[in-house]
Symmetry: C2
Subunit: 509 residues, 2 copies
C-alpha cells in the first residue's frame, strides 16, 4: 500500500472513530485497535510510525507515541528495532474469527415461534414515545430525561469515588443474596421516613426501578385465578404486567379524591394496585379519608394493597400527604418506589418495603431473574444520598416543576379554555380532557406536524376504544420558556382541526 | 452545647462518616449533611466555624472552608455575617420527617403470605456462597470476583468518558425500546464472530447477565405443559428458573463428550438447555459430532436448543470449538452469553442472539420486567470493547486460569490421588468425584474449619440426595500461589476424616 493511499485509509479510519467523548489519544487507540482487529491492515506490514501517523492526522506526535506505547504494553503491537510497529500475531491468533458462515435460515425449517409464546408482550397496548423527541420544538412528553435538573458534576464525583480500587472489589462481586448496606441505610433513614415509613433492613429490597418491583410481585403472587384491581385510567405497564399473569383484572374508577372505593368490586380482589401520591395518569392525590377506608376494606375482605409511590418525592405543594404504608398496621401494604425517576429514568433504581416474609421471597425471585441489580449503581446512589445531593436535586426539580406547572395551566386557561384539565398538584404531567367532538389521536398527529408532541390518553384505559378524547401533557423535558408557545401552537392546531373560534385576548379565563 | 462536648460530638461524627473512598472534603460534607439532616444539631445554633471544625478534626482549614461553601451554594447552610453558619430552615422544612409511627403489625391481622406465593423461590435448592469467603485462606469457590485480572484503570477511564455531559444526555433516557448501538455493534463485529456467530442488529438483545436472558426466555416460552431437557448434573439456577414455569423437567446425562444424545428422551422435549463450550459444572466440552447430531434431532423432533455460552471466552486451549449457534441453519438455537462474567460478576451484562421474531418479543418482555438494563453500563462496555481492553482482559485471564488449572491438577495428583477429577480444558473450576465412602458435605464442613472452602456438588443434580460424593473446586478467586497449600490442607482433612493413608512422596501419579 503506497504512502498516499495508506494516508487516506488512516484518515478515513480516524474520522470513522471520531468520538467527542474520548481524548485524542483514546481515539487514536480506538482507531488502531479497530484497524488491527478487523484485519484491515496486513499483519506483514508495519503500521505507520508515530511521526507518520501524527502527520497524516495532524496530531501532536506525543499523542500517537503514548497511544502506541500502551498498545505495545498490552500486546496489541510489537515494536521491532528499526522495522517499526507490527500487530502481535499471538493476539491475532487469539482473536481471529472463524470463517464467516452464511447464517441464512432455511424458512421451511424455521420453527413456528408464534405458537410457542405463552403470551405476546409485543401485542400489548402501551405508551409509545418518539426516540427523536428532542428534535421537536415542543415535546410535551412524560418521564424523559430532564437535563436542566441533572447534577452532572455531583453524579460524576460519586461515580468516581465508587471506582476506587477499594470500592471496586466491593461491588464487583456476585451479590445475589444481599443489597448494598449503604444504600439500604440511606433509604431507611433518609428517604422512607419522609413518607412516614420506618422499616428494618429485612423489610427492604432493591430493584431495577419501580416497575421491576411490580413485575417480581406479579410473578411471585399472581396466579391465573387471582383478581387484581387496577385504577382506570391507570398505568399501562402495570396493567400489562398483571395481564401477563391473570386475565382477571378489575378496572376501578377515579374521581377528584383518587380511587373510588366501590366495596362490591374491591371485595372480589386479591390485590389492588394504586398510585395514591399522585394517580397515574391524572395526578389526582388520594384523600386521607379514602386511604384509611381502603385499608379498612383490605382488612375486611383480605386483599393486599400495592402502593406505587413512583413520584412521591416529586410533589408541588409543601406537605406531601402520608403514604398508605405509613397508615398500615396490618402489614397489608406493599410499598414500591423509585429513587432514579427524579434523577434520570435511564439509571433504573427502585425498591420495595414490605413484610419480611415477602421481602425474603422477592430477593429469591430477583435472584432467579437477574441475580441482583448492578452493585456499582447501588453504591453510587448510596454515596449520592449520603452526600445530600439527592435533597438538592429534589428541591431544584420541585421548584422547576411547579414553575412549569403554573406556566402550563396559565397557558391552557388562556389559549385552550375549551379543554378541561386536572389541576396539577404534583407530578410532571397534566391530564387533559377534550370535548367529545375532538379525537386525541387526530389532534396528536396534527400537532406533531407542527412540532408539538402530546401523549394520547386512550392507552391508560382498559376500554381504550371508548376513551378517545383524553391526552397527557408532560412537562419535565420541555423547558419552561417554551411551554406557552407550545400551547399556543397546540391551540392553533385545535382551531385548524375543529374550527373552534376563539380570540385569545377576548377569552374569559 | 459547650465547646468541649461539641468537639467530642463532631469528632465522633467524623469518625462515623470516615470513608477511605472519599476525599477529606467529601467526608466533611458527608458528616455535616448527616448531622444537619438527622437533626443532631439545634437549628438555632451556629455550627462550628471552619476554623473551629478544622481544629477539632485536625484538618487543613481550607478543606472545611470549601466543604462549607458548597453546602451554602446548595442551600444546606446559610452564612450570616458575624453569626456564622446555620442549617437552612427551608431545607429542613422540606426534608423534615413525619413523626415516627409505630409500624408494629398486629399479628392477628397479618395476611397469610405463604398461601399467596405462586411458588416458593426461597425453598429452591441452590449454590450457597459464604459472603465472607475472602476471610478464608483457601477459597476454592466459583464465579466470584478475581481482582488480579480486573483492569481497574481501563474500566475507570471508560466510566469517566461515559460521564461526559454529552454522554449522560444519551444514557440517562428511558431506553425501553432499544439498546446501545455502540454495544450492539461491538458484540456483532468483535465478540460474536469469535464464536462463528454473525447476526444483524435485530437478532440481538442486551440483558442483565446471561441468567436474565434465561429467565426471560422461560417466562416467554415455557408454559406448564412444556417439557424442558436439562443437563444432569447441571446449572442449578437454570433448573430453578425452568421449574418456576413447568414441573416437567427432563434430566439428561453427561459423559466425557458432553450431553448424551438419548433420542427417546430428547424427542419428548420442547426445549433443551445446554452448556456446550464447557458444561456446568463438569467443564466437559461437547464434541463437534454431538453438536451436529443434537441439531439434527432438534429438527427431527421440533425442539428448541438454548445454548448457554456463559464462559465461551474463558477457554484454556487455543482453539475454541464452534458454538452450536454457528452450526445452526434452521434457526433453532437460542444463543445466550455474558460479557461481564470474565470481568466482574457484579457488573451483570449479557445478551441473546436469536431469531428476530423472538428477539422482538424478548425486548418487549424485558420492557415489562425492568424496562431496560442501565444504559450507562451498556455504553461503558461499548467503550471498553471498542478500545480493545476486553481482549487484553481475556488474554490475561486465560493465561492466569490455565496456570492455576495446571497447578491445581498437579496438586490433586500429588496430594489427593484417591479423588477422580474432570480434566480442566476450560472454565474456572474443577469437578471432583470422591470415593463412595466420602460425603462431600462432611468434607466441606471439616475443610471449612481449616480455612478451605469447597463447593458441594449435590445441588447440581436433580436427584441431589443420591449424589453426595461430588464437589467443585473453583480457582478464579484463589491466587495461584495458594492453590497447592490449599489442596495439601484438603488432603489432611481427608486423612483425618477417612484415615486414608498416603505418603505424598510415595504416590505414583
Amino acid at each position: 500500500m503506497n504512502k498516499e493511499s495508506s494516508g487516506v485509509m488512516w484518515r478515513q479510519q480516524f474520522l470513522r472513530h471520531a468520538n467527542l467523548g474520548l481524548s485524542l489519544q483514546a481515539q487514536v487507540r480506538q482507531m488502531v485497535v479497530g484497524v488491527v482487529l478487523e484485519g484491515q491492515w496486513p499483519t506483514s506490514l508495519a503500521i505507520p510510525s508515530s511521526r507518520e501517523l501524527a502527520e497524516m492526522l495532524g496530531l501532536a506526535r506525543n499523542t500517537v507515541v503514548i497511544a502506541y506505547q500502551h498498545l505495545v504494553d498490552e500486546g496489541y503491537l510489537i515494536a521491532y528495532e528499526r522495522r517499526g510497529y507490527f500487530s502481535n500475531p499471538a493476539l491475532m491468533q487469539q482473536i481471529k474469527h472463524p470463517p464467516r458462515q452464511a447464517q441464512d435460515v432455511d424458512p421451511s425449517q424455521r420453527p413456528d415461534w408464534a405458537q410457542r409464546f405463552r403470551f405476546d408482550p409485543a401485542a400489548q397496548l402501551n405508551i409509545t414515545k418518539k426516540a427523536n423527541w428532542r428534535q421537536y420544538s415542543y415535546p410535551f412528553i412524560y418521564g424523559q430525561f430532564d437535563q436542566e435538573s441533572f447534577p452532572s458534576a455531583a453524579w460524576r464525583a460519586c461515580c468516581m469515588a465508587t471506582l476506587s480500587t477499594l470500592e471496586v472489589s466491593e461491588w464487583a462481586q456476585d451479590m445475589f443474596l444481599r443489597d448494598d448496606e449503604g444504600l439500604i441505610k440511606q433509604l431507611r433513614l433518609r428517604v422512607l421516613p419522609r413518607r412516614g415509613v420506618w422499616v428494618n433492613d429485612n423489610e427492604l429490597v432493591i430493584t431495577v426501578g419501580a416497575q421491576h418491583a411490580l413485575y417480581l410481585l406479579a410473578d411471585l403472587l399472581v396466579s391465573p385465578n387471582c383478581v387484581v384491581g387496577l385504577e382506570d385510567p391507570g398505568y399501562p405497564d402495570a396493567r400489562n404486567i398483571f395481564l401477563s399473569r391473570t386475565e382477571q383484572v378489575q378496572p376501578l374508577a377515579i374521581d377528584d379524591e383518587g380511587l373510588i372505593l366501590n366495596e362490591a368490586l374491591l371485595a372480589q380482589c386479591d390485590y389492588v394496585y394504586v398510585t395514591p401520591s399522585h394517580q397515574s395518569p391524572t395526578t389526582v392525590r388520594m384523600s386521607l379519608e379514602r386511604k384509611k377506608e381502603l385499608l379498612v376494606l383490605a382488612q375486611k375482605h383480605d386483599f393486599i394493597v400495592i402502593e406505587d409511590d413512583y413520584e412521591s418525592e416529586n410533589c408541588l405543594t409543601n406537605e406531601a400527604s402520608p403514604s398508605l404504608k405509613s397508615l398500615d398496621h396490618a402489614g397489608r401494604v406493599i410499598y414500591i418506589s423509585s429513587v432514579s425517576k427524579v434523577l434520570a429514568p435511564g439509571i433504573r433504581m427502585g425498591y420495595v418495603a414490605a413484610d419480611p416474609i415477602l421481602v425474603q421471597r422477592l430477593r429469591a425471585i430477583r435472584r432467579l431473574n437477574i441475580r441482583h441489580p448492578t452493585a456499582y449503581m447501588q453504591r453510587v446512589f448510596a454515596q449520592f444520598l449520603s452526600l445530600g445531593h439527592y435533597d438538592v436535586v429534589l428541591r431544584k426539580r420541585a421548584a422547576l416543576l411547579s414553575e412549569k406547572a403554573t406556566t402550563l395551566m396559565q397557558a391552557l386557561d388562556q389559549y385552550l379554555p375549551i379543554l378541561k384539565y386536572q389541576y396539577i398538584s404534583g407530578g410532571a404531567a397534566c391530564w387533559v380532557e377534550c370535548p367529545p367532538q375532538m379525537k386525541a389521536h387526530e389532534l396528536a398527529a396534527a400537532a406533531e406536524q407542527r412540532g408539538v408532541l402530546i401523549e394520547v390518553g386512550d392507552v391508560f384505559f382498559v376500554k381504550n376504544t371508548e376513551n378517545q378524547h383524553f391526552f397527557r401533557l408532560g412537562f419535565a423535558s420541555i423547558p419552561n420558556h417554551k411551554i406557552e408557545a407550545g400551547i399556543r401552537e397546540l391551540s392553533a392546531v385545535v382551531r385548524s382541526l375543529y374550527g373552534v373560534e376563539q380570540e385569545p385576548s377576548l377569552q374569559a379565563v
